[in-house]
Symmetry: C2
């Protein structure tokens, strides 16, 4: 990797962590400068604006998460194992793995309404992918006769994602993983 | 009400709406100045800092909500009616009633980690009250033999709150009440 590329990657990683913890409108360029050790010009050489950096940082965090979800779920053999694998990835977010600050999609969903419209669009797409992955787990379960075929697939996916994401938020508010675990143990 | 008190109340109402929509760190004093039509000094005459205003605005929004919850739940006769009343108050938040921007407690829970530590403490307390109210509905249901006495009260309250709050967040992300309704109809 060329030096310029390495610097860009380093900025992206540090910014992702700051944005996810402090919010996209809440994060200041000065805190990103401090974390990266770069001056304003050093950051703007790679990202033309704070919004551009925010968009790429969000994309970075959801790609990272998306890969984890897909890998974990595809390697599991049964529906219960797949659901378990899905929940384990979310549980990682409770303790800040792979990024600190909780679920990046929910953070954007609950952040500023109009501050970053492109970011909201990205969040909608990412949440859609998360719901689709959960729907595929349910469909797999119906096909393998582990889940009742009369299940409303979309509704069940929304219930599972809502409750797990909601519990993740509670666990982060109280800095206590038991809220997430309380909900997760109902499903697995 | 004296003129000074009226002005203070007006600032509080407008600021509550801005903070809940744009986030506590994301809201600028200039947008509050614009909405209230006041200069900086006119706001600082009533609130000594942005943080003080944020704390009082959060308190204002959760008091408003808390009253709605208690009134709705206490007037309902059966467990199902109480749960229904509880859900109706949350459903109000989907469409921005009584304040725009979704659930103020979840917004703070998912906002900046360290920006406003006192605000996070207030959010913990408010969420605790919400969970307690849900637990009381469940206990009422057990006493009136509408809910199985072997139910884990705390766990069920966490599941219901997590899923409803999570679904409320999804409905706000997509500007589509059906996510919340999909989860709510499972319970009532």
């Amino acid at each position: 990797m060329r030096k310029g590329e390495r610097t860009k990657q380093m900025i992206l990683q540090k910014a992702t962590s700051i944005f996810n913890q402090q919010g996209y409108s809440g994060s200041s360029l000065s805190s990103i400068m401090k974390e990266t050790g770069l001056e304003k010009g050093g950051i703007y050489r790679h990202f033309e604006s704070k919004e551009e950096l925010a968009l790429q940082a969000f994309d970075y965090s959801t790609s990272l998460l998306g890969e984890r979800f897909k890998e974990a779920v595809s390697q599991a053999a049964t529906t219960l194992d797949k659901l378990n694998a899905f929940i384990e990835v979310l549980k990682g977010l409770v303790r800040g793995d792979p990024i600190p600050g909780g679920c990046p999609i929910m953070n954007v969903a609950l952040e500023a309404d109009d501050a970053y419209p492109l970011l909201a669009e990205q969040a909608k797409m990412s949440m859609f992918q998360l719901l689709s992955l959960m729907e595929r787990i349910i469909i797999f379960g119906i096909e393998s006769k582990e889940i009742n075929p009369n299940t409303n697939i979309k509704q069940l996916a929304i219930l599972w994602i809502s409750s797990l994401e909601g519990a993740l938020a509670l666990s982060r508010l109280y800095d206590d993983p038991s809220y997430f675990d309380d909900v997760a143990t109902i499903y697995i």
